[in-house]
């Protein structure tokens, strides 16, 4: 499998598009800065949210059992899935028991992670993603490239082409208002025809057994208000202890994600509607392994706001698909290797260690430090190629001998001064493709220092 660097290089090769992508996401980061800087208590909110999440995940068994018991009291059927396959089977079985043919689904990165859609489609069901961005990528037969803005990599003209092909809009139309209205009409038909609605969960509340789904389009609401069957798929880390903790997270989530004070719809579900049926599927799928690791535990605090993606200078310039992971960007580069270190071994290196992700994270996950820790893990597990480890071992040996280092440095500088340009800037010198090497001085600092001391 091609690593991140290869796919990123392809993305960067289209300079105009790469800059368009960078600017679109920087705009979101900028909105996030403006709104977070308008709250003097911002850092207190982050710290408190971080503490609440760490408390919850370190008492997860207790809160999960409390959540299950309270949800059952509300008349909800609660299911437990240890992995993606179990999750998909549980959802399929519920749908089959209700003779469901058509499903509407609001945004849920968990169902992406589990690849639920193909599983249901293979059983003859039609699944329509109702989030506008997700619908666009679904029609394009692509995966989301961002967890909050799934179609951020697609230009409006390209959306126009897709809609012309599938929704019969006018050819060449690219007006966002026109296209959105077309999507609205198209989705409405699907909402009305659906036999079941699937949603994700932003926050499960242990003390009440209720849960909260945040959207900007109201699609989760319509998708659960119309059909009688509602299945909510929820990662086990989505819990918070009690309702009084919720506002902390709703305030942080929308501000961090899009720079809004709150999501347009913050929908609270406490049991099935009259005559309806509600199921919650609690999914582990590797989460308890992360919980067992001291280094990576806090990555489970993630509330999936996507702020680390918007701020990441590498993500903005390489696109979500270059990560080849359900969740891309900094948090995805931690979660990806946790699920499959060999497959995702290049992701912790798709990072300049700038630390901007850590500083925007609303729950203060030390993302860039965890990425560094993953590099070590990948090395320790023997997943780092010799081309990377060998030079480091040689350099380490040289640096342990100051005389050898000073001598070698002198030779290298001399070589840089006398070698012809074509020899230095050879095709293997990837530094020199777009960059000059520094001018090599005759004397190093230590040479000059010696002279200075003995005038």
């Amino acid at each position: 499998m091609a690593g991140h660097a290869t796919l990123a290089k392809d993305f960067v090769a289209n300079d105009e598009r790469a800059h368009w992508h960078d600017k679109a996401l920087w705009f979101v980061r900028h909105k996030r800065d403006n709104i977070s800087h308008s709250l003097p208590e911002w850092e207190t909110l982050r710290e408190t949210a971080s503490q609440v999440k760490l408390h919850t995940i370190t008492h997860l068994a207790k809160y999960l059992e409390e959540f299950e018991a309270n949800a059952k009291k509300l008349g909800v059927h609660v299911h437990w899935a240890s992995n993606a396959a179990e999750h998909n089977e549980i959802v399929l079985r519920i749908l089959q028991q209700h003779n469901v043919k058509r499903v509407v689904k609001s945004k849920s990165m968990l169902t992406e992670e589990c690849h639920l859609n193909p599983h249901l489609e293979a059983a003859g069901m039609e699944v329509v993603d109702t989030d506008l961005g997700e619908r666009i990528v679904q029609l394009q037969k692509e995966a989301p490239s961002h967890i909050v803005l799934p179609a951020i990599h697609i230009k409006k003209e390209e959306v126009g082409e897709v809609f012309h092909q599938f929704l019969d809009t006018e050819k060449g139309a690219s007006d966002p208002g026109y296209l959105t209205e077309a999507a609205r009409q198209h989705l409405r038909e699907n909402f009305l025809a659906a036999d079941a609605g699937i949603t994700g969960v932003n926050f499960g509340i242990a003390a009440t057994g209720g849960f909260v789904v945040c959207t900007n389009e109201g699609n989760a609401d319509l998708g659960t208000a119309l059909p009688n069957l509602h299945i909510a798929c929820m990662g086990i880390e989505k819990l918070i202890p009690a309702p009084e903790h919720l506002s902390l997270f709703t305030r942080l989530l929308a501000r961090s994600a899009t720079g809004q004070p709150i999501t347009t719809y913050t929908s609270h579900f406490h049991g099935p509607k009259p005559g309806g049926e509600m199921h919650i599927v609690l999914v582990d799928n590797g989460r308890s392994n992360i919980l067992g690791s001291d280094e990576f535990r806090s990555s489970l605090s993630c509330i999936r706001c996507g702020a680390c993606m918007n701020t990441c200078p590498v993500y903005r310039r390489s696109g979500g698909h270059s990560y080849q992971s359900t969740v891309p960007g900094p948090i995805g580069s931690i979660l990806g290797p946790a699920s499959d270190p060999a497959k995702h071994s290049s992701l912790p290196f798709a990072c300049s260690l700038c630390g901007s992700c850590t500083d925007v994270c609303p729950v203060k996950i030390d993302l860039h430090h965890q990425l560094l820790t993953w590099r070590r893990e990948i090395y320790v597990r023997g997943l780092l190629p010799l081309s990377k480890t060998f030079p480091m071992k040689v350099m380490s040996k040289v640096f342990q001998h100051p005389g050898l280092y000073a001598f070698g440095g002198g030779i290298a500088r001399k070589a840089l001064r006398v070698m012809p340009r074509w020899m230095i800037y050879n095709p293997l010198n990837s530094w020199g493709r777009k960059r000059e090497l520094p001018e090599a001085p005759k004397e190093s600092f230590r040479d000059l220092y010696k002279k200075r001391k003995r005038p």
């Binding site: 990123a8 560094l372 350099m395 000059e436």
Partner: protein, 262 residues
């Protein structure tokens, strides 16, 4: 008179000797007794950042031993100091020697503002300066308020530079975005790294930067490498050179296509 062990990162020793001299001069000007222990080589950051901790450990152990005799350790690099202060504990067992070393190691600007409490910087620098905030200094050592976080603004490098006569600052569009150097990232992710660097440069060019400066020569090595292939390269100087009273010499443009490369 504080007795300082001068910590000169390996690439500065080899490629930017004047940055080392400037650091030495600045510290001596403020009354420090400075010594460069010649046994030092590299702090181990390239190895540690590649994940090869076992290759970094012996270098970290050497550093602790070499700098043991000094009251303070000062380096003209936020990144190498961050390696010592923030990451040595990840790979070495906790010990008094380690903790002492971490507690006495400072980046040049923070040493001047926080330890020596310098309030007046002599000299003039009548140029528009583009101050690049190197990430490890910014977000590991907290040498300035990062644009992501909310709170009182401060900037230790700027606080010093502002004292110089005639100096002005370029108002950047993105005030602390990464330049894309990132150590081995610069070659492993060459495409993204160069795009990041060129974007930073474009911001400086548009904002009227005459002299591009930073607390880390590694960022500047990458940026100047790109800069020198642009039509109108700006001058690039380490902050220690400005503080030591050097004046800009200008970066020489290289027409890479003439040298036989595509």
């Amino acid at each position: 008179m504080p007795r300082i062990g001068l910590f000169i990162p390996c690439y500065i020793d080899q490629f930017y000797p004047d940055v080392g001299l400037a650091t030495l001069e600045v510290l001596e000007r403020y009354g420090c007794e400075v010594e460069f222990p010649e046994a030092q080589t590299c702090c181990g950051q390239p190895m540690a950042n590649t994940g090869c901790v076992d290759a970094a450990v012996p270098l970290a152990e050497r550093m602790i031993e070499i700098f043991a005799p000094y009251e303070y350790v000062v380096a003209p690099s936020g990144s190498c100091v961050a390696m010592v202060r923030e990451h040595y504990s990840d790979m070495l067992p906790l010990s008094n020697a380690l903790q002492e070393f971490q507690a006495k190691t400072f980046e040049l600007c923070e040493f001047l503002t926080d330890v020596l409490k310098i309030e007046h910087v002599e000299g003039q620098f009548p140029y528009k300066v583009g101050l690049h905030q190197s990430c490890h200094g910014l977000r590991e050592l907290r040498l300035a308020r990062s644009s992501e976080t909310v709170g009182e603004e401060f900037n230790k490098a700027r606080q010093l530079l502002e004292q110089m006569k005639g100096i002005t600052f370029a108002d950047l569009n993105r005030k602390d975005e990464c330049c894309g150097f990132g150590g081995t990232f610069a070659v492993q992710e060459e495409a993204v790294s160069c795009m990041m660097g060129l974007d930073r440069l474009a911001d400086h060019y548009e904002s009227g930067t005459e002299v591009l400066t930073a607390g880390d020569m590694s960022c500047l090595m990458h940026l100047d490498g790109l800069n020198r292939r642009q039509p109108k390269p700006v001058a690039v100087m380490h902050i220690a050179q400005i503080l030591a009273g050097r004046q800009p010499e200008g970066s020489v443009r290289v027409n890479a296509t003439e040298g036989g490369i595509a």
